[in-house]
């Protein structure tokens, strides 16, 4: 059974804090994604990684960075959290190869920045 896990379901942080969101997948997928989901805006891509240490900016990378040191793990970093980063954060993974392929999502992290 495919599985993507995220380090926290709920997180409350203060403005200016550095925030780490961790994602782990056990499917040996090459591709990993970070999205944020806000009411009325749908899913917006923050960053994408297609290999260890490789990353591509998505549609809204400002204020975020990522790290992928191991194939199964993809971290999202908020360098200095702001209230407008309060959102639901979703990690996903998908295989490479002849595609495109469906993405498998984690349970999400509901981040509140106060």
């Amino acid at each position: 059974d495919v599985k993507v896990t995220q380090s926290s379901r709920y997180l409350v942080k203060r403005t200016g804090e550095k925030v780490f969101l961790e994602c782990v997948q056990d499917m040996d997928h090459e591709n990993m994604f970070w999205y944020r989901q806000d009411p009325g805006l749908g899913l917006r891509l923050i960053y994408f990684s297609y290999d260890v240490k490789m990353k591509e900016k998505g549609d809204i990378p400002e204020g975020y960075s990522v790290s992928r040191e191991k194939k199964e793990r993809f971290s999202l970093i908020l360098e200095s959290a702001s209230t407008n980063q309060t959102s639901m954060y979703l990690c996903a993974s998908s295989p490479q190869g002849q595609g495109p392929h469906e993405q498998y999502f984690g349970p999400g992290t509901r981040l509140t920045v106060t």
Binding site: V4, L45, F48, A92, P100, H101, E102, Q103, Y104, F105
Partner: protein, 111 residues
Amino acid sequence: EDQVTQSPEALRLQEGESSSLNCSYTVSGLRGLFWYRQDPGKGPEFLFTLYSAGEEKEKERLKATLTKKESFLHITAPKPEDSATYLCAVPPTSGTYKYIFGTGTRLKVLA
């Protein structure tokens, strides 16, 4: 511009009342269309992939179909546990990773 539009935004059905959700897209050379189910406060759960017009996929009370301009998710005799938000997504015309997601249809099935 690549775009995905889902309708209706929200739908309330009585248990057993069949209906369809729509996902229309404007990408050139469709390379796949994906349907997901999302329960409140959780991540989307993959349901179906459709690759070509005329293709159909079924799972329990759900059937997804695809034409050259849109996809339908047909729900037959729904039950309250089918209540969720249903999302569709397509890969972009060019490139491989900036999938375009619709904003979803919120389905509520009343007992």
